[in-house]
Symmetry: C2
Subunit: 256 residues, 2 copies
Amino acid sequence: MSGVRIAVDAMGGDHAPREVVRGAISYAASHADEVILVGDLPRIEREIADYGHGRPASVRFVDAPDVIGMSDHPAQAIRAKRRSSIVVATNLVREDEADAVVSAGSTGATMAAAIFRLGRIEGIDRPALPAHMVTATGPVMLLDVGANVDSSPDNLVQFAAMGAIFAERVLKVTRPRIGLLNIGEEEEKGDALTREAYTRLRASSLNFVGNVEAHEMIGHAADVVVCDGFVGNVVIKFFEGPTSNRGRWRRSRCSP
Amino acid sequence: MSGVRIAVDAMGGDHAPREVVRGAISYAASHADEVILVGDLPRIEREIADYGHGRPASVRFVDAPDVIGMSDHPAQAIRAKRRSSIVVATNLVREDEADAVVSAGSTGATMAAAIFRLGRIEGIDRPALPAHMVTATGPVMLLDVGANVDSSPDNLVQFAAMGAIFAERVLKVTRPRIGLLNIGEEEEKGDALTREAYTRLRASSLNFVGNVEAHEMIGHAADVVVCDGFVGNVVIKFFEGPTSNRGRWRRSRCSP
């Protein structure tokens, strides 16, 4: 194989396993990567038969009869359901049977499986969830959008470091500009968290461009914007309102 | 007079005094309220002459030669510029010469003038800034949107009480539904602030309907939604991005 080996949690997601299996088959047919579908094998095989596109040679299967639901407590479920698709898929990375793991299932369970089975990079205390906002001139990566609440200033610096590496390696941005989501442009603006994070980001070796106000993300004021997960989660859910079926916002406006 | 007496800061706002004076004249001509224009009298008189709609008998004038700019430090400016339009206008309320004061100028200076000249209602530790979000089925009042950062759980309960009174008296909502902006529906969700605020709101006599996620505001899940001013300010500025000239967001999307 010249590509990478991707373990896919076939059971995770709103329309799993059907849409996950179809996506994986479709991907494998057109890429040099190996795809390892992990889940309830009889159901996966039925979905492949229904799809009617055959089975690319680069698709492998690993059985995992348990499923972690959206209502399960993530950390408890990871410990209790050792044969669940997300745990088995993550173990494939741990055992060097796969290079990466992908899941559209419970975010908390995926996060917990990664922490408990793969651990953290040295110097990183907490993982972060990123969201990509596509602007007219390129993507803005916002993190954390919900993995952490009550973050410390050091957490925010660590999110910035992870975001910078992701932007460089994956988004191919040279020397990514790092912004701090804040409620004013000036250094002294913000709450206790952002004021201290500002000082530490400026003292870091990152390409810190200062505070970024929420409306400036849209103007691509930075490539990576860091914030506490409570704030980031509110932002992405607020954004979902008018742009998805989750909200019913019509001809709305917001005045201070 | 059968109406109320409204002191208007003629010098505050992006297009003051011109647009403020025109708005005040126009309002006074069609309402039973008394309007007191406060500011630089020669400039106000010039604007009235330029407007060419005469001067309704219900418009009065009070001279205030100083102006507080957007770059002035609010609390310092309030103390140093005692003849500024916002201080003089606020003093009219203090001295019972007016019933209310309106300003489109510096938010911080208006807030500071109100705190120092009028004081706070008993039981309220900090004032709050509200924003109205107009949904398909009625307005949602979000507060605080930037007067406070690092709020306490008690601050949030006080914001809820003020919001409830405003919704009842001004928006004419019977028994307004109070929501807590949070990152999940369940009671145990959130950061330290919102988890404790949840407990106190539930124990209050307010019509507390629980946590409201950001996308649910758009569906009018509550009449009043409370949050810390950092979070609320990020929300309204994020909203401004795609809907105003402040941002340049085109055909954007946001994926978690």
